[in-house]
């Protein structure tokens, strides 16, 4: 989406600004090439990297493509378990699950789970979380 906006802006600029057409078109071509590479490579790369896993004690996620991040939180420290579906996700039947702890630095996000898996994950986490007491800070 970001790329589309950028390309559109450049097209408009090229059309409006009369002079130096070749330079504009070169930049536009580079942008399009970058966009195509990004759009084709990134999702595969991300799909290969993104993982998640839960055990009885902890939740684990792995995300990112250039900058990769692994996050681990003990079940006993979980504050909330949210699941959300945007319009696009609803179209494809996907759910995002966010697990937050008392720290502002480390919400764990699992993107694009299918509905059944997400429901199972949320139920499981909720059940496990309820088993622990304390204010988890």
């Amino acid at each position: 989406m970001g790329w589309l906006v950028l390309i559109a802006l450049q097209v408009v600029w090229t059309v409006l600004d009369g002079g130096n057409r070749t330079a504009h078109i070169t930049v536009l071509a580079i942008t399009v090439a970058l966009a195509v590479t990004h759009v084709t490579v990134m999702p595969w790369w991300r799909y290969r990297v993104h993982r998640w896993e839960t055990t009885a004690d902890a939740v684990y996620t792995q995300s990112g493509w250039l900058q990769q991040e692994w996050r681990i939180a003990p079940i006993s420290r979980i504050q909330t378990v949210d699941s959300e579906r945007g319009p696009l996700e609803q179209l494809f039947g996907l759910v995002n699950v966010t697990v937050t702890t008392a720290s502002a630095a480390g919400p764990l996000r699992v993107h694009g789970l299918d509905r059944k898996t997400a429901q199972r994950l949320v139920d499981e986490l909720t059940a496990n979380t309820q088993a622990t007491t304390g204010d988890a800070t």
Binding site: E53, A58, Q62, W70, R71, I72, A73, A105
Partner: protein, 616 residues
């Protein structure tokens, strides 16, 4: 009164007449009276309102006099209204402390009832400005640790009698029932009674002799409770009251440290004066430009400027730099004295840390120790050069603020490093996390520091060079960038030297930074989880940044650019067993790409290995 006001009152549940009215029944059947603020606020509130609206009133005066000559009448009327509003604030504000809640009712047109459950109270701040102090009053802010909103969650009482404030604070933080006679002014063991302590009096080395490890100046592993509760430690207590820990008697305090006049020498190095000088300069220039004052027409100024203009260029430059430095140094020192005069850090038997300070405006901050998750020793570059450091508490619900006050989490103003370590050890109860040697992060981290410094400045220089070539940027921009690359090199080396981490004395210790070097000791129990971040270049260098997330302080404390295997080992030690199920090859971290790659199949409970702690 309009219909809307009526509705508001109805929603508030009480008609305005009932303010300060009869006792209200608690669920427990108790009757708790609503209390008013100090009567002396009848003086301060109107004064505050007038000061606050002074610009508007003056504007009114000017606007009125230009139009019809009735400006003074208008502004007098405005003054009257402001005085009335100020007076009404006293009549409309009431508060009460019930066994479960602290409640404040306020507002005239928009009635508000603020309720804070008492077990959520985390801090109690007491501030007295000049006017308050003259009248023996203090403002109370009750903090509930709502760190997500800037002004949310604090409940302000402006203002109460100082002795009533002490009682209230004890009542709130130490969870004791209020003394039977609320007005018993004689009960004032609070640290505001500073007179009994000469600054610098025997603050240190008074821990019980048996518990001091020989050879270490800092106290050995002294549990917080044992210091506070043991009678001999009370030798430093300022209160002359009897020691009855845990009873309804007055709290005893153990002094952890107090400001010594010698510390003021660190004042010039805090640089807090830069802001002051900046503000002052802006103020003067604004007066000059708005008032059309010609500074040069003032005799002495003219002489100085004339003699200045006759000097050589280098003389002029050094002259102005020296003047600036002197001004900043003076302002910083003044700021230090104003903010930290009569600074004292004490621990009460009720399990709270207590900070009092201030020359003109006095502040007292109380922090519950059970919210404490660690401590931060921070050394800004200049301060480090003269061997100074300051302490910042890492506590839940207390986000690290900006400025000299650090949002109330400051535990020690700039002071000698040894003193800072000493105090920190006494605050967290163990000294190893502050003195233990840290593991360096290896040559890869060093390379990364240099490549990063070079990459940033190199790219900047190149970009500016290109811009000056193509787009006609002035040449000095890229030249400056090039020159700045030079000091970036020692800075990079120093940044590497700062890096280090270890796990010691039940705390995760990490140190980083050069311009401000910070060493954080974070209680292992305070660690909520781990984030392991690896950028593209970090992956190629086999490094990772490990962040311990926590509910306290900065919310996350990082071990920067550490070897991946070491990062995993640290994380595993930090929270034993947490990582174990996810490490495919725990016990033998391979050097291969990615090291011990985490088990990576989205199947819950896929690995059901024993959760025993394994050392890598």
């Amino acid at each position: 009164m309009t219909a809307m006001d009526d509705t508001t009152d109805a929603l508030g549940g009480e008609p305005a007449d009932a303010v300060g009215g009869g006792p209200v029944a608690e669920p427990g059947g108790e009757l708790v009276q609503w209390r008013r603020l100090s009567r002396r606020m009848l003086v301060i509130h109107p004064f505050q309102e007038v000061v606050r609206s002074a610009p508007a009133l003056i504007g009114l005066l000017f606007a009125g006099s230009t139009q019809g000559g009735h400006g003074h009448l208008w502004s007098l009327a405005g003054l009257g209204i402001m005085l009335l509003i100020g007076t009404l604030r006293w009549f409309t504000t009431t508060y009460r402390v019930t066994p479960q809640y602290v409640q404040v009712r306020k507002g005239l047109l928009r009635r508000q009832v603020l309720t804070v459950p008492r077990d959520r109270i985390r801090t109690v701040d007491v501030t007295s400005h000049v006017l308050h102090r003259l009248l023996g009053l203090s403002r109370v802010e009750v903090g509930t640790g709502r760190s997500d909103r800037k002004d949310g969650g604090t409940l302000k009482l402006d203002a109460l009698h100082t002795h009533e404030v002490d009682r209230l604070r004890d009542e709130l933080l130490h969870r004791r029932p209020a003394p039977a006679s609320a007005a018993a002014a004689s009960v004032a063991p609070g640290p505001v009674a500073l007179d009994s302590v000469a600054p610098g009096s025997a603050a240190l080395g008074t821990v019980a002799p048996g518990s001091v490890v020989p050879g270490s100046v800092a106290s050995g592993p002294v549990a917080p409770g044992s210091v506070a509760g043991s009678p001999h430690a009370g030798a430093t207590a300022t209160s002359e009251m009897d020691v009855h820990p845990g009873t309804a008697g007055p709290m005893t305090e153990v002094e952890l440290t107090a400001l010594r006049p010698a510390w003021i020498r660190f004042g010039p190095f805090t640089l807090s004066g830069v802001v002051t000088v900046g503000v002052l300069a802006g103020f003067i220039s604004r007066i000059v430009s708005e008032g059309n004052v010609d500074l040069l027409s003032i005799g002495p100024v003219r002489q100085v400027v004339d003699s200045f203009n006759q000097g050589a260029l280098w003389l002029r430059i050094t002259g102005s730099v020296a003047t600036l430095v002197i001004f900043v140094a003076i302002a910083s020192t003044l700021g230090y004295v104003l903010a930290f005069w009569r600074f004292r850090l004490t621990r009460t038997t009720g399990g709270t840390l207590h900070v009092t300070r201030g020359l003109i405006t006095t502040r007292a901050t109380t922090l519950e120790e059970r919210r404490l998750r660690g401590i931060e020793v921070s050394e800004p570059l200049l301060l480090r050069a003269v061997g100074g450091a300051r302490l910042i508490a890492v506590a839940t619900g207390l986000r690290v603020g900006l400025g000299a006050q650090r949002g109330g989490s400051m535990l020690l103003p700039p002071a000698p490093l040894a003193e800072a370590q000493n105090v920190a050890a006494r605050v967290i109860g163990v000294s190893e996390p502050l003195t233990a040697d840290l593991l360096p992060h290896g040559p890869a981290a060093l390379r990364r520091r240099f490549t990063r410094a070079l990459a940033v400045w190199g790219t900047l220089t190149a970009a500016l060079l290109a811009l000056s070539y193509w787009a006609g940027f002035p040449a000095w921009t890229w030249q400056t960038a090039l020159v700045l690359t030079v000091p970036a090199m020692p800075l990079a080396a120093d940044r590497y030297r700062s890096l280090g981490h270890t796990i010691s004395g039940g705390h995760l210790v990490t140190r980083w930074g050069s311009v401000v070097r910070r060493r954080v000791a974070l209680d292992r129990d305070g660690i909520i989880g781990w984030n392991l971040r690896r950028s593209f270049f970090q992956r190629r260098a086999g490094l990772a940044t490990l962040t311990a997330t926590t509910a306290a302080g900065r919310q996350g404390y990082s071990v920067w650019d550490v070897d991946l295997a070491e990062a995993l080992r640290t994380a595993d030690q930090g929270i034993p067993g947490l990582l174990t199920p996810f490490l495919v090859s725990a016990g033998q971290p391979s050097e291969a790409a990615g090291g011990p790659a985490p088990a990576s199949l989205p199947m819950p409970a896929q690995v059901e290995g024993p959760l025993a702690h394994r050392d890598a």
